[in-house]
């Protein structure tokens, strides 16, 4: 029973995938059916996960506590904290949004959630940006010009040594210092592009902000390339699912054996 069930399930999935892809040709009833089925299943599952994954373990259990099951000796004797019930009315206030006179009250739960979000922006700012500031302070003056090459002879070089050479730890060679300079200049130009409170008259500062916009494009180009890789990989995975996992492994064997 298991194998035939699995084949039926895969067939249903392929049908749904082809149904959704049919919008590429043009919007049609077959597509609209699967789109609404998709939205229905998604909202249905959200209602399940709402209780099973969130409210049950994060609100109901701490509120009512739990007791040790005498038969299986499982679970634990935990007290229930009745004050949790006060959260329910706070949540229900949101449903007043539909009343004409009292819909301002619905802004309280949303205000509390926005308050939690905005308080955290202050809390987490440094965790995210502190290490990046510290990492952006790169030395732009080299402090080492010699390295010991594979044959043991010390070489003078402005360029950073080849992989096989040995240099003392923390050595900054000419090319590394130059790259660090490009790094810091890019960072400062990119950040100064977002300065709005003073008019940039002199040539140098103006040059910095316009080159800032071009340097931002390098960052966006990398995001573009990486996103393209991901989207195509997801499509290849869908094709693999249809042609190999379904057609080749499931459907063809049925016909070939007969």
């Amino acid at each position: 029973m298991n194998e035939t069930y699995h084949t039926w399930r895969l067939t249903f999935s392929v049908l749904a995938t082809v149904g959704l892809y049919s919008v590429l040709y043009r919007e049609n009833k077959f597509y609209r059916f699967f789109e609404h089925l998709f939205l229905g299943l998604a909202s249905g599952y959200t209602m399940v996960a709402l209780w099973t994954e969130t409210l049950y373990s994060q609100w109901w259990t701490p509120m009512v506590g739990s007791h040790l099951d005498p038969v299986t000796h499982k679970g634990a004797d935990a007290n229930g904290y009745w004050a949790y019930m006060a959260l329910l009315p706070l949540g229900l206030m949101a449903y007043l949004v539909y009343s004409k006179r009292h819909n301002w009250i619905s802004r309280i739960p949303i205000g509390i959630i926005l308050g939690f979000w905005s308080g955290q922006q202050v809390q987490v700012w440094w965790n995210r940006y502190g290490p990046q500031i510290s990492d952006s302070m790169k030395p732009v003056v080299p402090n080492a010009f010699h390295y010991v090459d594979a044959q043991g002879a010390t070489q003078f070089s402005l360029l950073s040594p080849p992989a096989t050479a040995v240099a003392q730890p923390g050595a900054i060679f000419g090319t590394t210092a130059l790259s660090n300079l490009v790094f810091v200049l890019t960072f400062i130009c990119a950040l100064s592009y977002f300065l709005f409170s003073f008019d940039v008259k002199n040539k140098l500062l103006n040059g910095m902000t316009t080159s800032g916009r071009w340097l931002l494009m390098v960052g966006f180009g990398a995001i573009f390339g990486s996103t393209v890789m991901m989207r195509f990989t997801l499509l290849i995975d869908r094709m693999y699912f249809i042609w190999i996992e379904w057609l080749q492994d499931r459907i063809l064997p049925l016909f070939l054996h007969r």
Binding site: Q58, G75, I223, M230, L235
Partner: protein
Amino acid sequence: MSTAQTTLGEKLQSLPKPALYLVLILLTSVPLLVKITIPNKEAKPSANFYTMVTGTVDPTFPAFTTSIDATKPVLIQTDWTTSTRGESAGQFKSLMRILMIRNIKFCFYSAGDPQAPQVALDYISDINEERVKAGLRPYERWKDYVDAGYFPGAEAICNAIQNNFGTAFKNVQDQDAEGAESSVFESPVLKGVRKVSDFSVMILVTGSNTSNIAIERIKSVPMIMMVTGVMGPETQVYYDSGQLKGLVTGLKGLYDMESLMDKDPQFKGKVTTLDNGAKYYPTLHIALLLMIIAIIIGNVGMFMTKKRAA
């Protein structure tokens, strides 16, 4: 200028859309049947991730030797679902194979999607079937790994984990060997874990921006990540500043992991090493080539019409 050239310029710029889509479907389907291995040069962030979880130092990056203590448990935040299966499933499976071969216990939870724990369990049972076929013992829920379920609001749970892991997972229950729900701290996996620093490493496998949220809040444990392509460049910034000790990005990162596993005696021959990465990577080449050609044709067509008009 002869009118033939204008029509060519016009024609180049106006291939019908359905034809374009059909070509893309063909070029992402036919190559799947061909089995060729592609030479690969691992990126440094992927090699660092690999060294962290397997202990094998990659010869191309000898300087990076940090790796996790296999006796301590690993904390995994898995926020991906089948929607990014193409990249995340392969990444998650290679991570599971590594942890299971090295007998490392892990606790996973999700802060990104209510469906994510269920998806992770399904793939763990697939890997178990694979291990049983290869004559290895299956990984058991409760004894080897624990599912801590879904927490809505990634900000809340990441903050709570950093502040005090004991109380953050206080109410979390999972099915023990006999099936009844009991606190995860009684399981062999989390025995003796009080703070997040008791874990050897925290691994995030995600298809969304929960990566930024975790980096902003969790800082007392080394962190490594497996992200999809779209989050790659943004998360690379944290790898460069040292906030991340390893980073696997998209299909290329997955193929780096798989080719490293294929060269590693710990895994070679014991468990499948080349999986989704090796299957999709050749086809990705052809799709990307099509993309480049499409941009070139579009621009050539434009220049031809502009030149004629000038």
